[in-house]
């Protein structure tokens, strides 16, 4: 069957890309500098410390051996030892990974349905006041870097105008972000506002296409209720591009959390990434980069497959 073959091919391509990504990550961190130990410790490092670090990171072996043993570790979930904390990277990541997942998922669960509603309504009421204001607001939001949105939210809702939510989302180590909903509000809102304009604008464009098509005209002429026409005939067909947009936005969220988590001091992998970069904690940097890239590739893969499944034109072209 064509579909299974296509999915397998995509999967293989995804794995290949991930492999190339691992080469880039390793190359950038461990091979780019002539002396990684010195790059980490700086110029003032004593010879003893350099020797210790070289042994700890296995830098005395050839680059190929280093890469292979690192890659082997990555595939079985052994991500090495954090230089800053002295514990295994996997354990340092575990609860932060959960926190980031909560952040991204909550942001996605709010922004996706919201964008679909807003986008569809704008298309339906094209050029009316709602659509025009949506166009202005989304264009503005789309221009703003996410940390700017975050700070404006802090000023508005936390420190200056209103004092509703905490400006800092510190969550005790080990406890889940779920248990501190008030601390999730601002970071989630910042992510939602950064992502929502993209999905709603794409959905608006595709809905306008659909609403002007012959079969919608036909449905209307048949005397179907307007609600039925829009919700049952138009929306499902307008959604295909939105799936793609959603996946890209979710993938983008994986990068967006870096800045947003840092801004709100939210204990996730994004803020850990910033710390690890400042401390040159290479094993942690490598691990988080791989996780984010894998997520990025995976989400796009899933979106491609879903789009094929839900769009009749692509589905039938497989036969």
């Amino acid at each position: 069957m064509g579909l299974a073959k296509l999915v397998l091919r995509r999967l293989a391509l995804g794995v290949l890309t991930l492999f190339l990504v691992s080469l880039v990550v390793f190359g950038a961190t461990q091979a780019l500098t002539g002396d990684t130990a010195r790059a980490i410790l700086g110029k003032e490092a004593t010879p003893e410390r350099l020797t210790t670090l070289r042994e700890q990171l296995g830098l005395n072996r050839s680059k190929t051996t280093q890469y292979l043993s690192w890659l082997k570790g990555v595939t079985v979930g052994d991500l090495g030892t954090s230089l800053a904390q002295g514990t295994s990277v996997t354990s340092a990541l575990s609860f932060r990974l959960r926190n980031s997942a909560v952040l991204v998922l909550v942001a996605a669960l709010i922004s996706v349905p919201l964008s679909i509603l807003i986008g569809a309504w704008s298309a339906y009421r094209r050029d009316r006041p709602f659509d025009v204001s949506h166009s202005i607001v989304s264009l503005t939001l789309a221009s703003l870097p996410e940390f700017v949105i975050g700070i404006l939210l802090i000023i508005l809702l936390s420190t200056q105008v209103f004092h509703i939510f905490p400006a800092i989302s510190r969550i005790p180590s080990g406890s889940s972000a779920w248990n501190q909903p008030d601390r999730l509000v601002l970071p989630v809102l910042a992510l939602v506002l950064s992502v929502q304009p993209y999905i709603s604008r794409i959905l608006r464009a595709s809905m306008i296409d659909v609403l002007e098509s012959d079969y919608i005209q036909m449905a209307r002429l048949k005397g179907l209720k307007e609600w039925t026409v829009v919700a049952w005939h138009a929306l499902p067909n307008g959604l295909a591009p939105a799936v793609q947009a959603t996946a890209i936005s979710l993938a983008w969220l994986a990068g967006g959390v870096v800045v947003i988590e840092y801004l709100f001091a939210f204990p996730g992998i994004g803020s850990l990434y910033v710390d690890a970069i400042a401390n040159r904690d290479l094993p942690v940097v490598q691990a988080i980069t791989m996780i984010i890239a894998a997520l990025y590739i995976g989400l796009n893969l899933v979106a491609d497959i879903i789009t094929i499944l839900i769009s009749p034109r692509l589905r039938t072209s497989l036969r």
Binding site: A39, S143, L152, A205, I208, E212, A293
Partner: protein
């Protein structure tokens, strides 16, 4: 098809190039929106494009906003009442006659630091965008004109870069080489390149089949001359839009990197860095954070509005409702 309104102001989607095609992620060059051809194109079409774009109110507003910020960044240092580095009061002093916007975390004049702080972000963002354009356009043109296998190889290699969110890739290199400005400019440019290459390639593929290119080929004109003399001049419009888009993004990225502490280093006066340095005093002295944030916001909104105007002019939308 009236639904094909420009999505140029959705840079994350438009340029990411992860659109769907038969081939799946990373190979979907065909989906990159190519410009609509409107009869015979003239060589100087980008001049016409600018003229068309200027008729849109959003272009005028956008250029006005961006121009205002460029003005502040360029002439600010001449207007600053104090040096941005000297201490003129206690930390986080409220606005006074000496310090119109109060003082920052070390007691320096916020107004002066704001007036000095725009140059870095503008210069670095422009440089990064220029590098991205040069690399992206070269790769895209070459890939679009090369034979299938070379085309495939170039685009696949660039695709690997697309698997990283831009900021993550930049930070990855910063982690080893340290927060160097040249590195940041280079990396931001590099992460733009595959996205720009896709747009260029898409546009070049369309032009490649035209008669005048065929004519030049049959006359034995060299490949380089065809690319630079025949194809490049025909695709300036989408490239101009792409430039605006990437500039918006560069500004955001560079400012974010400074905000994270990996861009300009203290004691530089830089908007992103100012936000980071002063946010602990946000409750006592909001101006030291609020003013740079607003200036960055106005700049990105301005550039993006102007870009949206360009994109609309390119596609030739007649209606102009809204902003």
């Amino acid at each position: 098809m009236s639904g094909t309104e420009p999505q140029a102001s959705d840079p994350r989607l438009y340029g990411l190039g992860l659109e769907l095609s038969e081939e799946g992620i990373g190979t979907s060059f065909e989906e990159v929106p190519a410009p609509r051809t409107q009869g015979a194109r003239r060589r100087r079409e980008w001049v016409q494009l600018l003229r068309d774009a200027l008729r849109y109110r959003r272009t005028q507003v956008g250029l006005g906003l961006a121009g205002f910020i460029v003005f502040i960044a360029a002439l600010g240092p001449l207007l600053a009442p104090h040096s941005p580095y000297i201490f003129i009061g206690a930390p986080f002093d409220a606005p006074s006659a000496i310090a119109r916007l109060g003082t920052d975390n070390l007691g320096r004049d916020v107004l002066s630091r704001v007036l000095y702080g725009g140059r870095s972000v503008l210069t670095l963002a422009l440089l990064a965008t220029a590098i991205g354009m040069i690399l992206g356009v070269s790769f895209g043109l070459f890939a679009g004109y090369a034979r299938d296998t070379i085309d495939d190889a170039i685009m696949r290699l660039l695709d690997v870069l697309l698997a990283f969110p831009q900021i993550v890739f930049v930070l990855l290199l910063v982690s080893v080489l340290g927060p160097r400005l040249w590195l940041i400019v280079l990396c931001v440019g590099l992460t733009h390149a595959p996205r720009i290459a896709r747009v260029t390639r898409g546009a070049a593929l369309e032009v490649k089949e035209r008669d005048f290119v065929k004519a030049a080929e049959s006359l034995g004109v060299s490949r380089l001359k065809i690319l630079s003399g025949e194809i490049l001049p025909m695709i300036t419009s989408p490239l101009l839009v792409e430039f605006g888009l990437r500039l918006t993004y560069s500004i955001g990225l560079i400012a974010a990197l400074s905000f994270l502490g990996f861009g300009l280093q203290p004691p530089s006066a830089d908007w992103g860095l100012m936000i980071n340095e002063n946010r602990i005093g946000l409750v006592i002295q909001p101006y030291s954070v609020f003013v740079p944030v607003v200036l960055i916001a106005v700049l990105t909104i301005g550039v993006n509005l102007a870009t949206d105007g360009l994109a609309r002019a390119m596609i030739g939308i007649e209606r102009d409702t809204g902003a």
